[in-house]
């Protein structure tokens, strides 16, 4: 009932249909940035997240875990074993864990879909190596692995790569630094509800998996 009312009200509000103009898309579809790896490093660091450029995923993750004194982590079920040191206790999520069980993990380790250099953003489509959304939300520390080949220059490049994820029915999460608020006197403060610490492992060369 309201559906028909609303549709007909909108039509009469618009009056005679007009030719719609084309969208001027003469903004930068590419930035031409050569060194996206270091731009990404710089831009993520601006959000007060830590970036580690490495060729050895396992060693870098081991160092992070030791530095932050983490002994128990949550991981998605398909995370490569070779990324993790043996010493750490793992809670493996087969999409079956209650959110409360995820609270027992001090940190979560995942991969990513892509990263955007210009804005310092990591994008998850919650498919391979990334786990479902709750996994990267509840633990207080997120250690995220980004491969160099998955770094794009800017947002238009990212969106065009994400079409297939959306069409496959995946949810998407854009992450730019740790959770933050600007609600008190418009000052940015890191750490509210999501992970308060974001550690990004930027992998320069493909390791043998």
């Amino acid at each position: 009932m309201s559906r028909e009312t609303m549709l007909s009200t909108i039509k009469s509000a618009l009056g005679t249909p007009r030719e719609t103009s084309t969208i001027p898309r003469n903004y930068r579809l590419k930035t031409g940035e050569k060194d996206v790896l270091h731009l990404l490093e710089e831009r993520i660091s601006d959000y007060r997240a830590r970036v580690h450029i490495t060729k050895d995923i396992q060693k870098t993750i081991k160092d992070i875990l030791e530095r932050l004194q983490i002994t128990k982590i949550a991981v998605p079920h398909d995370l490569p074993e070779t990324w993790l040191p043996n010493s750490v206790e793992k809670i493996i999520d087969h999409l079956n864990l209650e959110p409360r069980e995820l609270e027992n993990a001090q940190a979560v380790v995942t991969g990513s879909r892509l990263a955007i250099a210009e804005t310092g953003t990591i994008v998850l489509d919650h498919s391979t190596h990334q786990g479902r959304r709750a996994l990267t939300l509840i633990p207080d520390i997120h250690i995220c692995v980004v491969f160099e080949r998955d770094i794009v220059d800017n947002l238009p490049s990212a969106i065009s790569r994400l079409h297939s994820s959306v069409e496959a029915g995946q949810p998407i999460t854009f992450i730019s630094g740790p959770s933050a608020t600007s609600d008190i006197e418009l000052n940015r403060v890191e750490g509210v509800h999501g992970p308060r610490v974001l550690e990004v492992v930027l992998v320069k060369l493909e390791p043998d998996l």
């Binding site: 959000y47 949810p171 730019s176 418009l186 509800h193």
Partner: protein
């Protein structure tokens, strides 16, 4: 619209102006954000092209609204979501409370949404025995203080850290020694209180920053992670969006997601943006409802000049640059939509009948800063002048000089060529009245203006003309 203060703007602003603390809080916050915004906007060499694209995307979407809403309905349903159509606030509130009751929920958690403030959802739910818990830090502050939002982005911008500390001490029964006024410490209190709610409350309610007709994808842009919590953990998600939030295609996000964060929190990107498409098996809510809300929007759409106000993406940049907002704050606008955008949107949504609505288009000095910063190029000064003309017409009958003057001013502002012609005409027309670059007596009905003041004469060369001749010369 609830929270509408029936006082005309000019009366309400007088009260606000007597509060020096409010002015200090606002001055400090808006100055800081203005500087940050300039910096991140200057980083993008194609900012103006992005604004042009943003404006065109919104204008296009409005032209194609019926078709896009039907396409959105089909794609959301295909992805396992349910669509509801609500002509007004009452209908939207009833839809929401029916869904909440069907799940026997006594509490719901909410992501900050001005649209739900607009329809008075929290009070409506309360009336049916359901408690709505705000999870955005600023909304929580406003809710605990039984106050009203005063800014689109930062609803508690009128409160400083010391005031927030006092509020938290009282609301959460904390000892003064256990809580400093450091924003970090204050945020921690909210984290502890809300974590339990995120894990236990079965229904979440959100607004929507945009919904993509092509794919049925809905998006929420946020900072704290409370949004992700609400969108992910509860079993049921209800999102309420104004019909004007629909975008044709996924690709449009490559424009909007560049324009919005830089204009809003003055960041290259906000911490979290969530996109979801219907229901995702094994991940997030099992039930998703999208409520499409009219509530006066079609009235705005019917006005060819005023409909631009529907292009607003709620960034709040126009509030932060407005000299009137900076001094009087958001409450004086008496609406959930404060600032320059509120001054054109509220009167159109609720109609120009009341003294309050009629006063809003005059809550501006027409300095034009709001238009300069608007990421989708809404010509706010043009609509303000246009609405002023309508108010004067209503008050004094069909034709009068002031109304006609405002109308022709609006007509002149709408087009650069007309504007420049008017400037030239003024330069010639003023010659008989000008002495030492001052006009000290205007003729006829305008004499009232110069009885107690001199009017600077129109300069011989306008800035636009000077710029055309001198640009590129250093």
């Amino acid at each position: 619209m609830p929270f509408v203060n029936p006082k005309p703007y000019q009366e309400a602003a007088k009260i606000a102006l007597e509060n020096p603390q409010l002015r200090r809080n606002l001055g400090k916050a808006t100055t800081a954000i203005r500087e940050k915004r300039l910096k991140v906007v200057a980083e993008l060499p194609d900012w103006q092209q992005l604004r042009d694209a943003g404006a065109a995307i919104k204008e296009n979407a409005m032209q194609r609204l019926p078709e896009l809403l039907l396409q959105l309905e089909a794609s959301v349903q295909k992805a396992g979501g349910k669509i509801h159509w609500a002509t007004d606030a009452l209908e939207a509130n009833n839809i929401v409370s029916r869904i909440v009751k069907a799940h026997q929920a006594k509490e719901v958690i909410k992501i900050k949404s001005i649209t739900t403030d607009e329809i008075g959802l929290n009070d409506a739910l309360k009336g049916t025995g359901i408690t709505a818990i705000e999870t955005d830090l600023a909304e929580l502050i406003v809710q605990l203080a039984h106050d009203h939002p005063s800014h689109i982005l930062v609803p508690a911008i009128h409160k400083n850290r010391a005031e927030i500390r006092e509020l938290f001490l009282k609301s959460f029964n904390l000892e003064p020694k256990d809580l400093t006024d450091e924003p970090r410490a204050l945020a921690e209190v909210a984290r502890r209180y809300l974590r339990e709610k995120f894990l236990t409350v079965p229904v979440a309610i959100s607004g929507a920053n945009f919904a993509i007709a092509e794919t049925g994808t809905v998006g929420v842009v946020e900072s704290e992670g409370n949004g992700r919590m609400c969108l992910t953990l509860p079993k049921v998600l209800i999102s309420i969006m104004g019909i004007e939030k629909v975008l044709p295609e996924l690709r449009d996000l490559e424009v909007m997601l560049q324009l919005l964060p830089r204009s809003s929190t003055a960041e290259r990107m906000n911490p979290y943006t969530s996109l979801w498409t219907g229901v995702h098996t094994g991940d997030g809510p099992e039930e998703f409802h999208l409520v499409l809300l009219d509530n006066g929007r079609t009235k705005v759409l019917a006005d060819e000049v005023g409909r631009q106000a529907l292009h607003c993406i709620r960034c709040s940049a126009c509030l932060n640059v407005c000299p009137v907002y900076e001094r009087a704050g958001g409450h004086a606008y008496g609406s959930v939509y404060p600032g320059p955008i509120g001054a054109i949107l509220t009167p159109q949504l609720i109609g120009l009948e009341s003294d309050h609505a009629q006063s809003l288009p005059f809550a501006s000095s027409l300095c034009g800063a709001c238009y300069e910063v608007c990421p989708v190029k809404i010509n706010i000064p043009e609509i303000l002048v246009y609405l002023r003309g309508q108010v004067v017409e209503r008050k004094t009958g069909f034709f009068n000089l002031e109304g006609a003057a405002l109308k022709s001013m609006a007509w002149v502002f709408m087009d650069v060529k007309r504007y420049e012609f008017a400037q030239k005409a003024a330069r010639v027309g003023q010659i008989p009245m000008t002495k030492n670059n001052k006009i000290s007596s205007l003729p006829g009905l305008l004499a009232g203006w110069t009885n107690s003041r001199d009017l600077p004469s129109v300069p011989q060369q306008a800035f636009r003309g000077w710029w055309r001749e001198n640009k590129g010369k250093s």
